[in-house]
Amino acid sequence: MTMSQSTSDSPRADPRGSSESTSVLSLISATKSFGAVAALTDGSVDLRAGEIHALVGENGAGKSTLVKVLAGVHQPDSGRFLVEGADVVFRSPADSKTAGISVIYQEPTLFPDLTVAENIFIGRQPRGRLGLIDRPAMRTMARELFGRLGVPIDPDRIADGLSIADQQIIEIAKAISLDARILVMDEPTAALSGVEVDRLFAVARSLRDRGTAILFISHRFDEVFELCDRITVMRDGAFIATHRTAEITVDGLVREMVGRDIATLFPKQEAQIGEVVLSVAGLSRSGVFSDISFEVRSGEIVALAGLVGAGRTEVARAIFGIDRYDSGSVLIDGKPLRRHTPQAAIDAGMGFVPEDRRKQGLVMDLSVARNATLTLRTQLARFGLINAKEERKAAEEWTTRLQVKTGSQDLAVSTLSGGNQQKVVIAKWLATNPKLLIVDEPTRGIDVGTKAEVHRLISELAVRGIAVLMISSELPEVLGMADTVLVMHEGRISAALDRSEATAEIVMHAASASPEILT
């Protein structure tokens, strides 16, 4: 299908065939599909006691699905799952917890109305006389945990209103308190920085030294190389290789992660780049992004790259009028928008294909036709009434042009595959004849085959003179599609690269902004 996996430096058999006595958890060739989408085709990982093991890969490589299999949230369709050498089947998250696995998600799931201490000990609060919860003991235990983490959080305050970083700390404290033998951290540092990261690493190391196995998922290579003992690379839902950290370089890692024939997947056509369509200058929103300036010309595809949480989507939302911004300007064809609303943005010729197709892009219960014409609802109306014939015609025209595979225009859009759903979303914007289309993670959750179709589509739009602003976490997509690559890091643009100068390494480094590697 793509580049062979023989690029791996270590023998492929190593993690799976491993029967070393120190192996506490191994997942072997697990598969998991959601309908048409195969999220995991060959999910494998091997964890040993007393190691910190990194799991790296692009977005969509299957890392999150693998984590959820470990957590018992998803049940794999096939494959073996061993804990301490014994086969296990997790039917629920509780099973996973019982088996000694603790998972810290990127998005903390705290109970906002409960106190910090309770969030740590929910369901297993220390009990005193009469079986009642011993709150002083719980408080002390929580304090002690925070002491170990070196974080001064009041155990008695309610979790509502805590910053994401504090919530993350509480999640970590909870995992530590569970005395988990296996700790899975899904991008725990995404919302942390500086002191907190150092503290977290210190805790992680001390846990490792006490024999805990830690699976550490991160996009930040500096962290991976600083902290981890071994690194497993995943790509397209499959295991690629496991390396000792000392035996691999950043460049090698990036090659393995990206490693595929970009040309076939990204059929970029040459487009005539014309006048400036969108011009953003000095756009800032306190605490979210600051001083964002760039231009998008007709026929040009500008990619906003960077890590999740770098502020890319937030910038796009502000441009489109969904969120407000504090200062700066957004001009379309040199003119400011009438009002700061999505409707004004649409009227000015903008379209927005959002990242969450199911919640933001489509009305899943409505038919394909209705979805495809939702943006046209006012144009299709004559004397205030929607002309049903025109509506069907428009829907048919656009779904046919985009080759949406559906049995009928009248089927609920939820019955379509992810790729076809995405085409419906794009169709509804093309129907408005936009000058600028913002596409946020256009191929998330789409199988590889349909991905290429979506890419071809975006490329064609550019050829037809539409300016495209693309947000993507997938490096190959960025490199394969974009004329200009803007890399964001912590709310700022950290690099603006021309197509010719953008390489995987440079973009990755700019995104994770690790100075020592950047040089």
């Binding site: 998250p93 799931t109 109970f111 929910i122 297993r124 919860i133 001064p152 959080i153 008695d156 605490g287």
Partner: protein
């Protein structure tokens, strides 16, 4: 993130913060409103706090307090039970029927049977809600009709009067211990037990977790369904207890006893600071809310305010309560934004 983000959390000592928390808590504001109402009324009409006045105030609140505690458990889990008025009717009539059928039945047994009966009715609500995964509002709206229909079919035009029941049962709601009516003491015990349960047992905290974030609760291995059914059952049990109290306190029980109570109870709970969308609030607050609403009725009468204003004032109270909650949560959200802004 830098140190100063967590700094605001560290103001003051634990003790002073605990006291501060009491003063900003919703329970306190409801309690203050209640105290204010009583003081104003007493100043205008000194008979309001006469011995008889206080006794009436306590007796009137008893039934609503017990029901409000039960309802609070359900609302904390992000559900609602609109069928409580019908459950009260059924259990109250059941009490009358019991005494009619077995005149010598021990009163304690009647209480147990009444509570068990309520528990069954509440559990049915809970099972349907969890089984169907449909908002409790709709389900209990349906059982509101169904239970009331059953009550009508069962009671017909039969009514049981206090005179048909043992004198000891009737005097139960009149007797006082140290000037405080016995059933008011019973209600207080219910509130204390429920408060301890909600504050200091794992099951009680689970209810908050379920209402706070149902999906997360499931992820934590909390048995969401059985906890939800449990809350409904407890609500039914307490409503059953209230039904027995009702039979003791009021003159007659029949087919439409307790109809229309549901909205008053929900109102009391909401006024008492329990968020309608679950996860926060306390049974103590709900109980104070119930006392506030019943006292309001009495106070308006004692103040000679037209009784026509009473219902309108209840409406204003409910809206004020949710508005206050909203303002508080907006303040928290703003604080959060500011502290995050400082992080970047």
């Amino acid at each position: 993130m830098s140190q100063n983000a967590s700094a605001p959390i560290l103001h003051g000592t634990t003790a002073s913060r605990a006291i501060g928390r009491i003063f900003v808590s919703r329970e306190f504001s409801v309690f203050a409103a209640l105290a204010l109402l009583i003081i104003i009324t007493e100043v205008v009409n000194p008979r309001f706090l006469s011995g008889q006045g206080v006794k009436d105030l306590l007796l009137n609140s008893t039934i609503f307090v017990v029901m409000a505690v039960g309802q609070a458990l359900v609302i904390i889990t992000k559900n609602v039970d609109l069928s409580v008025g019908s459950i009260l009717g059924l259990t109250a009539f059941g009490t009358g029927s019991l005494f009619a059928a077995f005149p010598t039945i021990p009163i304690a047994l009647v209480f147990l049977i009444g509570m068990a009966f309520g528990a069954v009715l509440g559990a049915i609500n809970g099972f349907i809600v969890t089984l169907a995964g449909v908002p409790a509002l709709v389900i209990t709206l349906g059982t509101l009709y169904i239970y009331r229909g059953i009550n009508n079919a069962w009671a017909g035009s039969k009514q049981y009067f206090i005179g048909n029941q043992p004198a000891a049962f009737g005097t139960l709601s009149v007797q006082t211990i140290g000037g405080i009516p016995t059933i008011a003491i019973a209600a207080l015990i219910v509130v204390i037990i429920a408060a301890i349960f909600m504050f200091a047992t794992r099951a009680g905290r689970d209810l908050y977790a379920v209402g706070s974030d149902t999906d997360a609760a499931r992820l934590f291995g909390i048995k969401v369904n059985s906890r939800t059914v449990g809350a409904f059952t407890a609500c039914g049990t307490l409503t059953g207890l209230a039904g027995v109290f009702y039979a003791s306190r009021f003159n007659s029980v029949g087919a439409d006893t307790g109809s229309g109570f549901e909205l008053q109870i929900v109102a009391a709970v909401v006024v008492g600071g329990v968020a309608i969308f679950g996860g926060s609030g306390t049974v103590t607050g709900a109980a104070i809310g119930a006392v506030l609403l019943t006292t309001m009725t009495g106070a308006l009468a004692a103040l000679n305010v037209s009784k026509f204003w009473q219902q309108a004032i209840v409406g204003v109270l409910i809206i004020a309560a949710i508005l206050i909650d909203r303002i508080l949560s907006l303040r928290t959200a703003r604080k959060l934004r500011v502290s995050e802004a400082r992080n970047v």
